[in-house]
Symmetry: C2
Subunit: 217 residues, 2 copies
DNA sequence: GCACAGCCGTACCGTACGTTACGGTTCGGT
DNA sequence: ACCGAACCGTAACGTACGGTACGGCTGTGC
């Protein structure tokens, strides 16, 4: 199965406007998003919505893909990999990821996809996973493997190492937000969490190289 | 705010039957659960459903509380606390928790609550969190604090330690299941994951006492 | 035996919303 | 200036479902 990662290439400027409006409405209204509401809020006709997106499912799918195309995790960058650089990079990933999953937009989209999972053909959940968790893994694994090649960390399976990192970063934050708990960390807390997760990950997988005790945050 | 943890005390046998049927239907149908469907499936009339539960929201709330009353995490038990006992207890918690959150029932219920979060007054999300994540924390924290008192582990904040343990146990499993990914670990994998999470948690928080190198799993 | 309460099954009502259809308007091409 | 395509705004249709009403059945207290 091929998941359309959708960089919003085939969309006209007007269509992007409509999707922006729909996304904003989704964040505000949640799953009560209605075709009439989108049309009114986007100043377009329902007929146009149906022509462009085929129906409600198509619109929702387009919204998910459109938002995904706007999420950009820190590019990997192929610089030298020493211990401080690795820590900085992991911390950056963690902070970016926390910022994404705690954003109202991401929460609304994940709620939509969760509620929609297992029903219908569109399978928004698959798309959200492809653009979220799996996209993150795709970006992070090369970093982990480069670090392993440089002797900084040790693990058998990059996938397992990634999942541990994921757990250390996300913890209970995402599920709590999805379930409506007010627990959204702001800037400073996110930075602190990212640093803690990185430290813990390196404590679990890091290789104690030489005496080098410096730069442990 | 007081959350009704609901041990199903005020329910007649017949009402439990109805809730069981409704829960089964919820697992099968997802959010498309309909009052008519519940009535048909439970061999009762809609009038009775409305009389007993007040409406759809009331029924959903009753379903959530009813299922929560059936979930039992390993009781804490106040035995001696040495390193192997601590590891065994953590592993037990982790395995129980993984079994719960990966069960189709839990997935269906969490999907329902997530989709329902932020809308309406019932606030199923709050109930699910109270009976899930927070109930787990309530059970686990005394164990962690007893272990700290015994000098086995070290941490400043039991809440933070719990959240780390939670992350190490759950990782990406729950969000993937909620989003419809087929990634349900079965018995052996759950046991392995529980052991790994426990080992990692003790590696992060455990106090290296004396030479004692035995019993590291 | 009988009145009555509780419940089942079903029919019914009102609404919300997805979907379709249509008249009017804007705009680019010729 | 004219034509056609695309699009806006709105009205209309059909259905699904939450909620309500009612007739019939069963079991229990007197």
């Amino acid at each position: 199965m091929v998941i359309e990662v959708g960089d919003g290439e085939g969309l006209s400027a007007r269509q992007r406007q409509v999707l922006d409006a729909a996304l904003a409405l989704l964040v505000a209204e949640g799953d009560r998003l209605t075709m009439t509401g989108v049309a009114r809020c986007a100043n377009c006709s329902k007929e146009t919505l149906y022509k462009w997106f085929g129906g409600r499912d198509g619109l929702l799918t387009a919204i998910v893909q459109w938002q995904a195309s706007g999420v950009r995790i820190a590019p990997v960058g192929t610089g030298t990999i020493d211990r401080p650089a690795l820590a900085a990079r992991l911390e950056r990933f963690a902070a970016d990821w926390l910022a994404v999953i705690t954003s109202p937009t991401s929460v609304a989209l994940n709620r939509l996809a969760v509620g929609h999972a297992g029903t219908g053909e569109a399978d928004l959940g698959r798309t959200v996973l492809a653009n979220g968790r799996f996209a993150l893994a795709r970006r992070l694994k090369p970093v982990l493997e480069a670090a392993r090649a440089a002797g900084l960390v040790a693990f058998d399976d990059a996938e397992e190492a990634f999942r541990t990192f994921f757990g250390l970063v996300v913890r209970d934050v995402q599920i709590r937000l999805l379930l409506g708990d007010r627990a959204r960390p702001e800037g400073a807390a996110i930075a602190a969490d990212a640093a803690r997760a990185t430290t813990q990950f390196l404590a679990l997988y890091g290789v104690r190289s030489r005496p080098a005790r410096a730069g442990q945050t």
